[in-house]
């Protein structure tokens, strides 16, 4: 189709470098330009005929790329969007929701953020939403996301679970980082009952499951130690309290001396000293 001929036929049309909203305009790519025609004065037959004769798929793809540059970069080998922000993080939301409510949920979620902090957001699947957020002074902590999930769920009849990623420098490495964060959360989503977790909280279990648990040494250690429920609680509490015996004893509702005694007994039986950070972390891995 020749551009000049079309402009003669449709003087109300324009020629631009980028397509416009496909809901209100018909976009036809000719050479490297876009012939753009308002739909309002076209008959349905005309729209259909012109569509058949043009490549509208490219129009919507191109539009999508402009609306979701990060989605294009992360999922479709697109270019890294021109970014002013030095660091970004990926917030993944797993949402149990009806199709009718999806956009309402997404819009409500986005209003919680300052406009300037959101680089992009999109549905990866019908139940998984990704928000790319730049590092700023007003970012929410991982704990805040629990409150955000609860506010959305109680008012919109949804069930939301957030996985909050780390901040990463904006380089091409982001694609592989994003993909690994996706794998970690897909693994962790059925394992954690928390409404908001950070990737770092669940990554250890994921890596253990994929790598360390395949080690013969590891599986034999686990078999041999026969950790009781009580000892698992002692180890995980000590780990959570960074090895601090006084605060761990408080959390366990036992006297400090009782905990000391349990640690000494465990060392005598296993050779592993829970007061040594390496041994404590090793034992923690055995409980996961």
């Amino acid at each position: 189709m020749k551009l000049k001929q079309l402009l003669n036929l449709y003087p109300q049309a324009t020629v631009q470098q980028q397509p416009q909203n496909p809901d209100t305009y018909l976009n036809i790519k000719i050479d490297s330009q876009w012939f753009i025609l308002p739909k309002e004065n076209l008959s349905p037959t005309e729209v259909q005929l012109l569509r058949i004769l043009s490549d509208t798929k490219e129009a919507s793809q191109s539009l999508n790329q402009r609306k979701h540059p990060w989605s294009d970069f992360l999922l479709r080998n697109g270019k890294l969007p021109p970014v002013k922000e030095k660091k970004v993080r990926f917030i993944q939301a797993f949402v149990t929701i009806n199709d009718d409510n999806r956009e309402e949920w997404a819009n409500s979620f986005k209003t919680i953020f300052s406009n300037s902090d959101v680089c992009d957001s999109f549905w990866l699947t019908p139940h998984k939403y990704i928000l790319v957020e730049k590092l700023s002074n007003e970012n929410y902590s991982q704990e805040n996301f629990a409150g955000i999930a609860e506010t959305l769920d109680i008012n919109l009849n949804t069930k939301t679970k957030f996985f909050v990623g780390n901040y990463w420098e904006t380089t091409d490495q982001l694609v592989s980082i994003f993909n690994e964060e996706l794998k970690i959360t897909d693994y962790a989503v059925t394992k954690s009952n928390e409404t908001a977790v950070s990737i770092s909280q669940v990554a250890i279990d994921y890596w253990l499951n994929n790598y360390i648990k395949k080690s013969h040494l590891f599986s034999n250690y686990k078999k041999q130690l026969h950790l009781s429920d009580q000892m698992v609680k002692v180890i995980t509490t000590l780990y959570d309290e960074c090895g601090n015996i006084s605060s761990a004893a408080k959390k366990l509702y036992i006297h400090r001396n009782t905990l000391q005694y349990q640690i000494e007994k465990f060392q005598h039986q296993t050779g592993l000293n829970l007061k040594n950070m390496n041994d404590l972390v090793f034992c923690y891995f055995l409980t996961v």
């Binding site: 409500s108 769920d153 908001a196």
Partner: protein, 370 residues
């Protein structure tokens, strides 16, 4: 009028092989202030979330005013909730923060405005409505979080550890504000906390939980004076109840090495003998304030006196907390500051056995009769 009934409620998560909440039974009266208290992981927040509709109930029924609401969506339950992580939105004003939930529910603008102003008036926040959260104090931010719930004008309030992120001084003042709010708004309130002092000071009734199960339900005075088991006895009260492993013989309780050997009063002795504990092991519990150092007590109850070695002394002003040891057992006593002693010293103490509690060593259930 709103009453809530939880009948044989259980919760098991999909990825679990045991219940997080087991056989939870509770009937809550209109306008009651109920506190769920227990250690982290005991199931109190899970139970609250089942009441809110944020978690499914695996088994059992939950009724609001006689209507089963297990399958009713959270939005339809007429419940307002204050979350532990209330996350005030920093780019929104106080007004918009308080209005956010109402906007999600598509209330009209005029209605939102009326509700926000009413809540702000109750909370003393009217002059702060156009400020951003960063410009507020910790207490003011907490009140904004409460405001988000008050704007709902719901007859049921659920609060999940709303004060846990505040410093000690602010927690004390906010406790009083929440109690006053409850009286003014006349709502049925369920409050979750791990802090037994919050439970004791705020509740009409306390539900003590452990490992997903109710340990005891009662007024603050009941759970303090009549603990149902060792866990309740040790959890409620600060400093915690002291426990000794003893044997009952010849009308006395003694530890293994006979470092102490104390006569049991007739009334309590009769009950223990009736239950078959003569010659048997028991757990003996006594609160720190029921261990005395006055000469008058020693003279009145010479058979209840032991000599202990002091490990740590903490002077608190009017009182002192003395950490001592009898044989291998450590205990803490709360005494008058005038009786303060130095670590390493020996000290005579008298146990007020009339106020003491006895528990079965296997089941840890109380043997006392009230």
């Amino acid at each position: 009028m709103v009453k809530l009934d939880l009948d044989h409620v259980y919760k098991m998560y999909d990825n679990a092989d045991s219940y997080s909440v087991t056989d939870f039974n509770l009937h809550i009266k209109d306008r009651e202030f109920i506190v769920f208290v227990g250690p982290s992981g005991c199931g109190k927040s899970t139970t609250l979330r089942m009441i809110a509709g944020l978690e499914d109930i695996t088994k059992g029924t939950f009724k609001i005013d006689g209507r089963i609401v297990n399958d009713e969506a959270p939005k339809d339950r007429d419940i307002a909730m204050v979350f532990q992580n209330y996350a005030l939105y920093p780019h929104m004003t106080v007004y918009d923060n308080m209005a956010f939930g109402l906007k999600l529910r598509k209330y009209d603008k005029a209605d939102i405005d009326k509700r926000v102003h009413k809540a702000a008036s109750i909370l003393g926040l009217e002059e702060y409505l156009q400020r951003k959260p960063a410009a507020l104090s910790g207490g003011q931010r907490q009140r904004v979080a409460l405001g988000r719930a008050i704007v709902r004008d719901a007859p049921i309030f659920l609060m999940d550890e709303p004060l846990s992120n505040l410093d000690a001084k602010l927690r004390v003042s906010m406790r009083a504000q929440i109690s006053k709010l409850h009286q003014d708004l006349k709502t049925t309130t369920i409050y979750v906390t791990h802090d037994q002092i919050e439970a004791m000071t705020m509740a009409d009734r306390i539900v003590v939980m452990r490992d997903g199960k109710i340990q005891q339900v009662g007024t603050p005075q009941e759970v303090y004076d009549q603990p149902a088991n060792v866990f309740v006895g040790g959890f409620i009260g600060s400093p915690a109840m002291n426990f000794f492993n003893v044997t009952l013989k010849d009308g006395k309780i003694a530890d293994e090495n006979h470092d102490f050997n104390i006569k049991v009063p007739e009334g309590k002795l009769k009950v223990l003998r009736k239950k078959g504990y003569d010659g048997k092991k028991l757990i003996f519990g006594i609160r720190p304030e029921d261990i005395h150092t006055e000469q008058a007590f020693f003279e009145a109850f010479p058979d209840a006196v032991v000599t202990a070695t002091v490990s740590v002394s903490e002077l608190l002003g009017a009182d002192a907390q003395i950490y001592s040891k009898v044989g291998d057992t450590e205990f803490v006593s709360k005494v008058d500051a005038r009786d303060f002693v130095q670590p390493g010293d020996s000290m005579k103490v008298g146990f007020d056995i009339n106020k003491a509690h006895f528990f079965d060593p296997e089941t840890e259930l109380t043997l006392d009769e009230y």
